[in-house]
C-alpha cells in the first residue's frame, strides 16, 4: 500500500518515542518468499513470558478508519480489527521474526486447481460468534460479498480493498447484498468434504498466490442478521478473541473478551490481556512524552504505527544517543516499505539518460536529509527483503553515494540532454533539502535538473497526472498488502493503469507489454520457487532493463511500548502486534 511522504516523516518522527526490539526481516523459505504451513492449529505461538490478564492501552491521535472488515484497508484497522474478526488465511508470527502463511477461518491454506483459476479451502470447525452460534461458510460468503457493494450505484460501504472484485468471477451482476439482495455471487460457493465445510472460489484469471490475498479483511465473515450496513463499523459482531464493549469513533474504544472464542481454534491470536483500552484523539507530543517518561497510560501501552507528525525527525546523532533507551522497550528496524525515485519513462524517453540518473543519484546524501540511517537501509530492490521478488541486484554502483564517472559515460551516449524536473511536496523543509541533495548529485554528472516544489495539497494529484505538467522525477514509497510481489509490481507498473489523464500508482508511466506479460505469468504461478524466480525477473526488468526507477532504501520504523508490556513487531501492520501483546504484571 502507498506510503505518503508525510507518513514516512511520521514514522521517523516516532524516533524520540521509540525503542529497539529485535530488528526483524521476514524469513524467506527455501523457495523464496514466505513460509507456508497448511496444517497450523491453535493455540497461537506466544512470546516468552506471556501471562494472561490485565489491560493493554493505546493512546494516540488517530483512530482506525474502519472496524468493519469490508471497509478496512489500513494497517491499523487490520491490526486491531483481527481481534474481532478472522480472515480465511492469515500470517502467523512466531516472535522471532518468522512469518508463516496459515489458515485462519480455513484449516488449510487452500488447494489450487484448474491452473490456479479455482481455489478450495477447508473451513475450521469450532469458531463461534459472540452469541455462541457457529461461524459458517454462508457467513463467510456473505462477508466476502459485501465488498461488491463498491460496485453499486449508491455505495453504502466506502473504503476497503477491491481485490475480490478484480479476482473473483461474478457472472450474475451481483453488486453487494444491499443493491442486489436477490442475486448470487457466482464465483464463491460453499460445499462439504466429509464432515468439513469448504469454500470454493472461481477466479477470473489464474492467481498463484490467491491464498495470500485471502489474508485481506475482505475475506472475513459477517453474519447477515447482524449486518447493520454503514453502522456495522461501530457494531462489529465478533468471532475473534474480543468484542466491542463501547466505541465512540475518534474518542474511545474498549474491547473485552469474547467468551465464545476458543484459543485451540486460533493459530494467530494469543489474546493475553483481558481488555483493550483505546484513548484516541490525543496530542502526539504529549503521547510521545508519556512513552519517553514511561508513565501513566504508557506503562501498559503500545503504540500503533506512527504516533505523530509533529515530532521532529530523528537524525543519526540523536539515534545514537537514544540507543540504550531504545533497546529496553520498543522496535527500531526495517519495515516493509521501500522508497524509490520514479522516472517518468514517457517524458524521460532516453534510456541512457535514465541509466545516468540511476548512476548519479547519491542516495546516501538524500537519506541524510530525512533522518539518515533511521530513515532506512539502502536497497537495490523495490521489494522488501524476505519476500518473493526481492533480489540483491546492483542498480549501477554498489556505493549508495552513486557513481558519477559511470553516469557520465551514459550521459555521453544521450542524444538530447533535455532538462528533467523533480517535484517535491513543500510540506516540510526536509523535502526541500532532499530535493537539493538530488539536484546536487545529478548536476555533478552533467544532468540538467530542475527541482520544483508543489503545494502539499496538490502533490499527489500532480504525481499521477498526465500531460505537459506531468513530473519527470518523483519520490515514492510502497509497501505490500500481503507479503508477496504480486501486490508490489502489478499495482505499480501495469500498463492499464496509465490513462490519458491520470496514471494511478504507475508513477513511472510504464506501458510495456513485455512487462505486463511477465507479471501476468508470475502472478499465475502456483509453484512458490518458480513464482519467486519470475518476480525477481520482473524486478530486474523494471530496474535494470528499462531503468524506470532507482530503489533507494527500505524504510525503518520506530515504535514504542510501555515497560509493563511484552510485544513483537508485526511487519504487515508495521506496528506492534496486537494479537500477541501481553501485560507483564497484570496487577500494575
Amino acid at each position: 500500500m502507498k506510503r505518503t511522504r508525510t507518513a514516512i516523516v511520521a514514522v521517523l518522527a516516532l524516533g524520540t518515542a521509540s525503542l529497539i526490539m529485535t530488528s526483524v526481516a521476514p524469513v524467506a523459505n527455501a523457495a523464496g518468499g514466505l513460509a507456508i504451513n497448511a496444517k497450523a492449529v491453535g493455540p497461537a505461538p506466544a512470546l516468552a513470558g506471556t501471562v494472561k490478564g490485565g489491560t493493554v492501552n493505546y493512546t494516540g491521535k488517530s483512530d482506525v478508519n474502519h472496524l468493519d472488515p469490508s471497509r478496512c484497508y489500513d494497517t491499523f484497522c487490520m491490526n486491531i480489527g483481527r481481534l474481532l474478526w478472522r480472515t480465511l488465511t492469515a500470517i502467523q508470527l512466531d516472535g522471532k521474526g518468522k512469518q508463516t502463511l496459515v489458515g485462519d477461518i480455513a484449516s488449510d491454506v487452500g488447494t489450487p486447481s484448474n491452473g490456479g483459476k479455482t481455489w478450495t479451502f477447508k473451513l475450521r470447525s469450532g469458531i463461534k460468534w459472540q452469541d455462541g452460534q457457529p461461524v459458517t461458510c454462508a457467513d463467510l460468503k456473505y462477508g466476502i460479498g459485501r465488498t461488491w457493494d463498491q460496485d453499486a450505484d449508491s455505495v453504502v460501504l466506502t473504503g476497503g480493498t477491491s481485490y475480490p472484485q478484480a479476482t473473483i468471477e461474478n457472472t450474475a451482476g451481483f453488486k453487494g447484498p444491499y443493491a442486489t439482495p436477490t442475486k448470487d455471487l457466482s464465483g464463491v460457493s460453499c460445499g462439504t468434504s466429509g464432515s468439513v465445510e469448504t469454500i470454493t472460489f472461481k477466479l477470473l484469471t489464474a492467481a498463484g498466490d490467491f491464498n495470500f490475498q485471502t489474508t485481506m479483511p475482505n475475506y472475513a465473515a459477517v453474519r447477515k442478521d447482524k449486518d447493520t450496513g454503514v453502522n456495522y463499523d461501530n457494531q462489529v459482531f465478533s468471532y475473534g478473541p474480543y468484542q466491542i464493549q463501547s466505541r465512540i469513533k475518534k474518542d474511545k474504544t474498549i474491547l473485552v473478551r469474547n467468551t465464545y472464542w476458543d484459543a485451540k481454534t486460533d493459530p494467530i491470536r494469543v489474546a493475553a490481556p483481558d481488555k483493550i483500552d483505546m484513548l484516541l484523539g490525543q496530542d502526539s507530543v504529549n503521547t510521545n512524552n508519556l512513552y519517553i517518561e514511561d508513565t501513566g497510560r504508557a506503562v501498559n501501552g503500545i503504540a500503533n504505527g506512527p504516533l505523530t507528525q509533529n515530532v521532529p525527525l530523528i537524525y543519526d546523532s540523536e539515534m545514537d544517543a537514544l540507543q540504550p533507551l531504545f533497546e529496553k522497550r520498543g522496535y527500531y528496524g526495517k519495515n516493509p516499505y521501500v522508497t524509490w525515485l520514479a522516472i517518468n519513462v514517457q517524458k524521460v524517453t532516453d534510456l541512457n539518460l535514465r541509466k545516468a540518473i540511476q548512476c548519479a543519484l547519491n542516495v546516501e546524501g538524500m537519506r541524510a536529509t530525512v533522518g539518515g540511517k533511521s530513515a532506512g537501509d539502502f536497497t537495490s530492490s523495490l521489494a522488501p527483503e524476505g519476500i518473493a521478488g526481492y533480489s540483491k541486484s546492483t542498480v549501477c554502483s554498489t556505493s549508495p553515494k552513486g557513481d558519477v564517472a559511470k553516469a557520465k559515460e551514459y550521459m555521453a551516449k544521450v542524444k538530447t540532454n533535455k532538462e528533467v524536473t523533480f517535484v517535491y511536496s513543500n510540506a516540510t523543509k526536509d523535502a526541500e533539502n532532499e530535493a537539493l541533495s538530488l539536484q546536487s548529485s545529478l548536476t555533478k554528472a552533467g544532468i540538467k535538473i530542475k527541482i520544483k516544489p508543489i503545494d502539499s495539497t496538490e502533490y499527489y494529484t500532480i504525481l499521477e497526472q498526465q500531460g505537459a505538467d506531468a513530473p519527470d522525477l518523483m519520490l515514492y514509497a510502497w509497501g505490500y498488502d500481503w507479503p508477496n510481489a504480486s501486490t508490489i509490481y502489478p499495482p505499480l507498473f501495469r500498463s492499464d493503469l496509465v490513462g490519458t489523464d491520470v496514471v494511478g500508482e504507475n508513477k513511472s508511466r510504464v506501458t510495456d507489454k513485455t512487462l505486463d506479460a511477465m507479471m501476468t505469468k508470475a502472478a499465475a504461478e502456483t509453484n512458490p520457487a518458480k513464482a519467486n524466480a519470475a518476480w525477481v525477473a520482473v524486478e530486474k526488468y523494471i530496474v535494470n532493463t528499462i531503468a524506470a526507477v532507482v530503489p533507494m532504501y527500505q524504510d525503518k520504523t520506530l515504535l514504542w511500548r510501555g515497560s509493563n508490556v511484552g510485544a513483537q513487531y508485526n511487519p504487515i501492520a508495521n506496528s506492534n502486534d496486537w494479537a500477541s501483546v501481553y501485560i507483564k504484571n497484570p496487577k500494575l
Binding site: M1, K2, N65, Y73, Q150, D151, A152, D153, S154, V155, V156, T158, G159, G160, T161, S162, Y163, A166, P177, Y178, A179, P181, G229, V230, N231, D233, I248, K249, K250, D251, G281, Q282, D283, V285, N286, T287, N289, L290, E293, T295, G296, T457, E458, Y460, T461, P491, E505
Partner: protein, 331 residues
C-alpha cells in the same frame, strides 16, 4: 430598539447562509478528491464515481447547496435506492464522509467539551485580567505595576502549543501534580470535570488574561483622569467607591465587549488548545474535518463557529444599542 433588533437578527441569519455558501465554494475549489480518500489504492475510477455519487458530491454545486439548505428545515434521505436508506432528521447537516456519523450528533457530543473549556477559561481570564489591570492602574509606576506589565507582556507573547506542552510535561507527565486533561461531564462529577479541565483553563486563561490586564489598566488610567472622577473625589466620595463604582465601571464597557467577542469565538472551537491537550471538542473536530476533507463536518463546524461569533456580535451590538442610543440612531 425592537426594529433594530429585528434588522440585526435578519442580517445575522443572512450572514450564516453566506458563510455556508462560501465554505461550500471553498471546498469545491480544493483539488483533492474526498472519494479517493475513502477508497483504497486499488480503487477503480468506477468505484470512485460510485462513492462520489453516494456522497452526493457529483451533483452540481447549486444542487448540493440547495439540498443542504433544504435539509436544515426538512428531513433528508441518503441511499434512497438501496436496501440501506439513511434518514437524516432536520436540522440535517449530513453524515460524515469518514465516520458516517450524523454531523448534528457529533457536534452535540463534542460541544460540551468546548463549552466547558470556553466558559471556565474565560471566567478565569476575565476576573484575573480585570483584577490585575486594576491593581496595575492603581499602582501606576510602582513595582506591582511593573511586575503586572511584565507578566502581561510575557504571557501575551506565548503560544498555547508551546506553553501547553511544557506545562503538560512538567505538571502532568513528570510530576503528576495536575491530572491528565480530559473532559468528564459535570453532571457525572463536578470535581472530575474541574480537575480534568484545570490545566487547559489555566493555560488558556494565562495567555488571554495578559491582554485583559493591559486593557483594564489602560481603561482605568483613562477613566481615572476624567474630570468627573476628579469631581467625585473632590466632593468627598471615598477613594474605593470612586475607583470601583466610577473608574472601573467606565473602563469595563470595552472589556465586556471584547470578552463577548472572544467568548463567542472560543465557543466555536479552540483549535490549538483542544489539540494541545487532546480535548475532543469542536476545535479538534474542525481540524480533523479539514484534514480529512470531510465536507459535512467542515460545514457543520463552520456553521457552529459562525453561529456563536455572529451571536456574540449581535449581543454586543444589542448591548451597545441599549447603553448608547446614538448607536441605534446611527445604524
Amino acid at each position: 430598539m425592537f426594529k433594530y433588533f429585528i434588522k440585526r437578527t435578519a442580517t445575522a441569519v443572512v450572514l450564516l447562509f453566506v458563510v455556508v455558501f462560501v465554505t461550500f465554494g471553498l471546498f469545491m475549489a480544493v483539488p483533492a478528491d474526498p472519494a479517493k480518500l475513502s477508497c483504497g489504492k486499488t480503487c477503480s475510477e468506477e468505484t470512485k464515481a460510485n462513492i462520489r455519487h453516494a456522497m452526493e458530491i457529483d451533483l452540481p454545486f447549486t444542487t448540493q447547496y440547495t439540498r443542504f439548505v433544504k435539509g436544515l428545515f426538512v428531513d433528508r434521505y441518503y441511499n434512497k435506492g438501496s436496501q440501506q436508506p439513511r434518514k437524516c432528521e432536520a436540522p440535517c447537516l449530513g453524515f460524515s464522509f469518514r465516520t458516517d456519523e450524523n454531523v448534528t450528533d457529533v457536534l452535540q457530543r463534542r460541544a460540551p467539551t468546548t463549552f466547558s473549556l470556553a466558559l471556565g477559561a474565560s471566567l478565569i481570564w476575565l476576573i484575573g485580567g480585570v483584577l490585575l489591570g486594576m491593581v496595575s492602574a492603581l499602582r501606576r509606576g510602582k513595582t506591582v505595576d511593573k511586575v503586572v506589565q511584565s507578566f502581561a507582556l510575557f504571557f501575551s507573547s506565548l503560544q498555547i502549543y508551546l506553553i501547553g506542552w511544557v506545562v503538560s510535561l512538567y505538571f502532568v507527565i513528570k510530576h503528576h501534580i495536575i491530572p491528565t486533561p480530559t473532559y468528564v461531564s459535570p453532571f457525572e462529577s463536578v470535581s472530575k470535570w474541574a480537575a480534568g479541565m484545570l490545566l487547559p483553563w489555566l493555560t488558556l486563561a494565562l495567555i488571554s488574561m495578559a491582554g485583559y490586564a493591559r486593557l483594564t489598566r489602560a481603561g482605568m488610567l483613562e477613566t481615572l483622569s476624567e474630570d468627573y472622577v476628579r469631581t467625585a473625589r473632590s466632593n468627598g466620595l471615598k477613594k474605593g467607591r470612586v475607583q470601583f463604582k466610577h473608574a472601573l465601571r467606565g473602563a469595563i464597557t470595552p472589556i465586556i465587549t471584547i470578552f463577548g467577542l472572544d467568548l463567542g469565538a472560543l465557543m466555536g472551537g479552540a483549535v490549538i488548545t483542544e489539540s494541545t491537550f487532546g480535548l475532543k471538542g469542536i476545535g479538534t473536530l474542525s481540524l480533523e474535518a479539514v484534514y480529512e476533507l470531510d465536507l459535512p463536518l467542515i460545514i457543520g463546524t463552520v456553521i457552529f463557529g459562525a453561529f456563536f461569533i455572529i451571536m456574540a456580535n449581535l449581543i454586543v451590538d444589542m448591548l451597545y444599542a441599549a447603553l448608547d442610543p446614538k448607536v441605534r440612531i446611527t445604524k
